[in-house]
Symmetry: C2
């Protein structure tokens, strides 16, 4: 039974890594579509989100199957429950990447981000890409030192999110109402993306360190 | 064992109803704080969110305990997994009510919503209150006819969300950049709140009708 369970867990872990790699690709491409006004790329990100959704469903079914067949208890049970939560968080990160791509597509052939906010979004997209990349690495290596890098990346996103408010509220802001709206929502999507990355990082850290009491308290809304 | 399991399930169901009632109270009070500029009320909503968070943790622990002690399979297992998902969604609805209250508090003694958007937010808050109330009723009665009312309430919110874009993009809009940002984010919070209500409604419907295949596919991002 133990070998089957361990094989199932490995399978579930591989599924999470696969989801995370797709999220990483989605946010990176969404950022390029946004900043360079690439319509086809935006389209591709939007179309590929269903693949992340499909993986989530597959992974959830696998988790439910393991719970039913193996009836794990204690730590093993919490590992499976945590996997369910992480897959739901990764799915949501995929949605947020899709939302960024949708804004890019909606403004095409114009750029959604005006010149005055471009640098901020170049940086915020870079930080989001880092969060996603480190999340994939953390999921595949279980090296909890990566969690600190994810938290640091999220801090950068939070600061840049604040910068977008400062920019749109500045007397120098010459953006249209549409640009103010787009910048506000885009920054919010990235900010949530970072929060979710931190949520995954904390859950994995709890899995590795075994501090499951804390895991239960891991906020999705950090 | 069966009686213990049924008693545990009832306990979990009661916990979900309690969470939902708190969410209902939070969104209603947050709307009043927002529209009438009531600082103390905003403060109260923000302070009381931790109670929803505490209930979520308690409920999750109870679900994990039931899984460990009872090792449910088939439908029973899916009921517990669905309860875990609903508690996480209700917790998020509580966060969104808190975000509305935070905007109200941040602008005090001014009103965050300018006159030109007031009517829309009166209506959107009413629709969100309806979604929350029907969600509590659905959780306590399992009367799936209520799910249609929740979907209809969410449709109203989505339409009003679109109205806020039309308003802020209209040449008649005289709001400041701060007001444009606030209206954009507030409408987004309400829109997500409605989506989450629909997600709960669908999950409960699947529980009652037994269509668990569909449940797994219930989108959080409807």
């Amino acid at each position: 039974m133990r070998e089957i369970f361990d094989a199932e867990l490995k399978h579930i872990g591989d599924g999470l890594v696969e989801m995370s790699r797709l999220v990483e690709s989605a946010i990176t491409r969404a950022g390029t579509a946004l900043l360079d006004g690439e319509h086809q790329l935006a389209q591709d990100v939007i179309a590929s989100d269903h693949e992340i959704d499909r993986l989530e469903r597959e992974l959830d079914e696998r988790c439910v199957h393991v719970l039913a067949q193996q009836a794990p208890v204690a730590t093993d049970l919490r590992v499976v429950i945590t996997a369910l939560r992480i897959s739901s968080t990764l799915e949501r990160m995929g949605d947020l990447a899709r939302h960024v791509a949708e804004v890019a597509r909606g403004r095409y052939p114009a750029l959604a981000v005006p010149d005055g906010a471009r640098e901020t979004f170049v940086a915020i997209n870079e930080a989001a890409g880092l969060v996603a990349r480190r999340t994939s690495e953390l999921l595949s290596t279980r090296d909890v030192a990566l969690a600190a890098e994810i938290e640091a990346g999220d801090d950068v996103i939070d600061r840049l999110h604040q910068d977008t408010f400062a920019a749109t509220l500045s007397p120098d802001w010459t953006g249209t109402a549409q640009e103010t709206i787009d910048v506000t929502l885009l920054a919010r999507y990235y900010e949530r993306f970072g929060d979710h990355g931190v949520s995954v990082a904390r859950r994995i850290t709890y899995l590795v360190t075994g501090d499951f009491e804390a895991e239960i308290h891991a906020p999705a809304d950090v």
